[in-house]
């Protein structure tokens, strides 16, 4: 056991020198309570970064479970009928991929704005609205895909393949809606007269959004291969 004093490791204090709080209230914001614009913090708070990765890990596990269910069910199935994916899915994919690009553009603009390089925040807002629009287009497109299947007489309980199609896409769309919520939050925070958007909020929202993108690509591949 320790017999001497271990000097505490020199960790950078992750809070203002006054040591007021772990809540790191204003200092990572575009605009602290004071209202004077400061240079944006180079990175987002470790907590939020850890948080989002942990969250994404959880979501990954959930879809891994769905996947294994699909594989097991497909393996032993005598009643599995092949389901050809509605082509609109590929249009939706384009929407989603596009939204990721626009979101990255938006982040650049926000950063520029935060560093005071760009005087106005309207370009960043523009890109954000575009991202939001594309996201909504994706959701709408998925709905259209369901309508297409329905018109072919393929309902949730028609066949395991259709069951899994509806379940997986619905689960994904629900998560995407969460992402849209994040975007809305970012937009509202940014469009205030004195923006109160925190770097961490923007980062986590966009990490999540890109993850939805990756997840969708995976699901598309899975559905393409297995159904």
């Amino acid at each position: 056991m320790a017999t001497t004093v271990h000097e505490p490791p020199r960790v950078e204090p992750r809070r203002p020198p006054d040591g007021s709080s772990s809540g790191n209230g204003g200092w990572r914001n575009l605009t602290p309570s004071g209202g004077a614009r400061v240079v944006m913090d180079p990175g987002s708070s470790p907590t939020s970064r850890t948080g989002i990765w942990v969250g994404l890990a959880g979501i990954t596990m959930t879809f891994a479970a769905f996947t294994s269910a699909l594989i097991v069910r497909h393996g032993g199935a005598s009643d599995w009928r092949h389901l050809s994916l509605p082509p609109i899915l590929f249009v939706n994919t384009a929407f989603l991929l596009g939204s990721s690009v626009t979101l990255e553009m938006a982040r650049r603009k926000v950063a520029a704005f935060a560093r005071g390089l760009s005087p106005s925040k309207s370009p960043s807002l523009g890109w954000l609205y575009l991202t939001l629009g594309l996201g909504l287009a994706f959701v709408g497109g998925q709905y259209a895909a369901w309508v297409q299947l329905k018109s072919q007489g393929l309902y949730l309980a028609t066949n395991p393949s259709s069951s899994f199609f509806y379940v997986l896409t619905a689960a994904h769309v629900l998560h995407v809606l969460g992402g849209l919520g994040g975007l809305v939050l970012v937009i509202t925070r940014l469009s205030r007269r004195i923006p109160t958007l925190r770097r961490s909020t923007l980062d986590t929202a966009s990490y999540y959004w890109h993850f939805m993108d990756v997840l969708w690509m995976y699901l598309l591949w899975l559905l393409w291969m297995k159904l």
């Binding site: 809540g23 907590t47 479970a65 269910a69």
Partner: protein
């Protein structure tokens, strides 16, 4: 995305309104207490259910006075029907496993003490934390509400095997609405625990105060961290499983329900589902869940024992590695629940060896506990008694694992009372002893008052002896082939065993009654207990460096700096034989390191 940043909780003044302060509080301490309260409610409901079940098993055709008012159809004239027995059994298991063994040691204690022990003012995502409790509360309400719908709660057991749980009311009373409510409740519960785990992990990784390296975390903090890692993965698998189950049940899909099932001469509309799929998904969650229930207990017990022994464990790191090994292995062994389920016999063998391997970390942990007792200055009080009781229980329940890990013996013991005895000792009773130890140990910190030691010891003696009287005989019953989940014993070979059941029932009634001593002690001491000093146990970890009860922001706005490993006992210092984790004082060890 919800506001993901650790904004604001303690940045403003503490909340004033009653709602913000006690109901929708963002304060991890209040949330911890709320979880504890929920667990307390659930455990007493679950206990009463088990009483009714035990009475029925001892005296099957006897009328239990008043039961008919609880459920006129379930117990006409007070005589319990088979379906009602199974409904009580299902709810007993569900309440205990999910709402007691998961919430109390993990969510309740963890919420309250993890941030304090890492030296933080709160968890990073207080809103998620609040949601985590209230979502869990909703889950509780949904699950319990099944008592009040049509045919009552489901009778499929807490494992809810498909297709029994998936085909609907045709399979029996309670399998209609009740089963759907159960699945929905559990799915919601998963969401709550996922939010909790997310907070726990980020707290441990990012909210540690200056000088608090990972190895300097107390064993409790480590236990909660490891548990949250398991929770994140396990509950994320159970939730989709429950969703698929609900779809099978209400939407007519066939994930779990096979073709050509004929129930009550009616051909079921499902086709092609995989019966084993549910068991795989459920036990992939189910076995880690066992460790989610017990690992926090291990942490609490180590924590309590150390301050009672006045010395650190023989090896801090070996204990941590062993707990990590348990967590890791727990994902590779779930198949031992399915040895005779029709799963490929080869995979049974494959699953049996990791299961046996789990005895190694468990044995290491036990030996470290016992070995650390050697040469210590053991203090006996309610907390340490329960902690030592935990060790004894964990050993007793653990050795029966030798049998159940082997497929060839599982042929004889599967689904018998041997299994019931095994998991009650190793998981239920042990975990609950952990909860008791933690309660007696931390109550002064939480309430600022001491619990009554005498009552505590009386409570311990009833619980310790009682638990053995109840659960040891279960093993004998199992070896004689007494099948579990029977609402009555009509088979000839079970008749000679009924006296044993009567004995167990009496033991259960007495032991259960003794728990009211604890309840009384809890309530009495909360208001009338002797005022507690800041550090009644002369312990070293950070929670004892702050007033009892802790102020709203834990450390009074000034975050601690940590200089030592968590357990500096058996040393010479100005404070006595221990040095607080945050005191810069140099340590002269007077322990003779062998």
């Amino acid at each position: 995305m919800h506001d993901m940043s650790a904004q604001a909780v303690h940045h403003h003044a503490p909340p004033t309104g009653f709602i913000r302060k006690y109901v929708f509080s963002l304060d991890h301490k209040v949330i911890g207490k709320q979880y504890y309260g929920l667990a307390l409610l659930a455990v007493f409901i679950g206990m009463v259910l088990s009483w009714l079940m035990r009475i029925h098993l001892g005296w099957t055709n006897a009328a239990i006075p008043g039961l008919q008012w609880l459920s006129s159809s379930g117990a006409p004239g007070g005589v319990m029907t088979p379906e009602y027995y199974l409904e009580l059994m299902t709810m007993h298991g569900t309440l205990m496993v999910f709402f007691v063994l998961t919430t109390a040691p993990f969510a309740a204690f963890g919420n309250y003490f993890l941030p304090i022990q890492v030296g933080a003012e709160d968890m990073p995502f207080p809103h998620f934390n609040m949601m985590s409790f209230w979502v869990t509360f909703v889950a509780f309400c949904v699950t319990v509400s099944s008592f009040f719908v049509g045919d009552g709660p489901p009778l499929a057991g807490w494992t809810s095997y498909a297709p029994l749980s998936a085909v609907g009311a045709v399979a029996g009373p309670g399998q209609g609405t009740g089963q759907v409510l159960w699945a929905a409740g559990i799915a919601i519960f998963c969401v709550g625990q996922l939010l909790g785990s997310l907070n726990f992990i980020s707290t441990t990784l990012d909210m540690r105060c200056k000088g608090m390296s990972l190895w300097r975390l107390p064993l409790t903090a480590w236990a909660w961290f490891i548990t949250s890692l398991m929770g994140l993965t396990a509950f994320a698998v159970l939730m989709p499983a429950c969703i698929l189950l609900i779809l099978d049940h209400v939407a007519g899909t066939s994930f779990f329900v096979a073709s050509n099932l004929v129930i009550n001469d009616q051909l079921q509309p499902h086709s092609g589902g995989s019966t084993l799929l549910w068991q795989h998904l459920f036990w992939f969650f189910g076995h880690p869940e066992v460790y989610i229930a017990i690992v926090p207990g291990m942490g609490v017990v180590s924590h309590v024992l150390i301050s009672a022994m006045r010395r650190p464990m023989l090896s801090h790191r070996v204990l941590i590695y062993s707990m990590l090994a348990l967590a890791f292995l727990s994902y590779m062994v779930y198949g031992h629940h399915m040895f005779v389920s029709g799963m490929n016999p080869i995979s049974s063998v494959a699953f049996s060896f990791p299961t046996l391997a789990i005895t190694i970390p468990s044995t290491i942990i036990v030996l470290i506990w016992i070995g650390s007792l050697y040469g210590s200055r053991l203090r006996i009080n309610s907390a340490s008694l329960f902690a030592l009781g935990f060790v004894s229980m964990f050993v007793s329940g653990g050795v029966s694992g030798f049998f159940l890990a082997q497929p060839s013996l599982d042929i004889m013991l599967h689904a018998t009372y041997f299994v019931v005895g095994h998991f009650h000792l190793v998981m239920a009773v042990a975990a609950i002893f952990g909860i008791f130890a933690g309660t007696y140990y931390w109550f002064p910190k939480v309430t600022g008052r001491m619990m009554n030691e005498t009552l505590g010891k009386v409570h311990f003696w009833f619980s310790f002896v009682g638990a053995y009287c109840i659960f040891m005989p279960f093993h004998y019953l199992g070896m004689a082939g007494n099948v579990r989940r029977y609402s009555a014993f009509v088979d000839d070979f079970m008749q000679p065993l009924i006296p044993v059941h009567k004995f167990i029932t009496i033991a259960a009634l007495v032991t259960g009654a003794a728990q009211f001593i604890f309840l009384y002690n809890l309530i009495y001491s909360r208001f009338k207990g002797a005022p507690a000093p800041q550090n009644p146990w002369e312990a070293t970890s950070l929670e004892w460096t702050i007033p009892s009860p802790p102020p709203f922001d834990n450390f009074g706005g000034k975050l601690p700096v940590v200089y030592h490993d968590p357990y500096q006992y058996g040393v010479e210092s100005s404070t006595g034989d221990y040095v607080m984790q945050d005191s810069p004082e140099k340590i002269q060890s007077v322990r003779d390191e062998a």
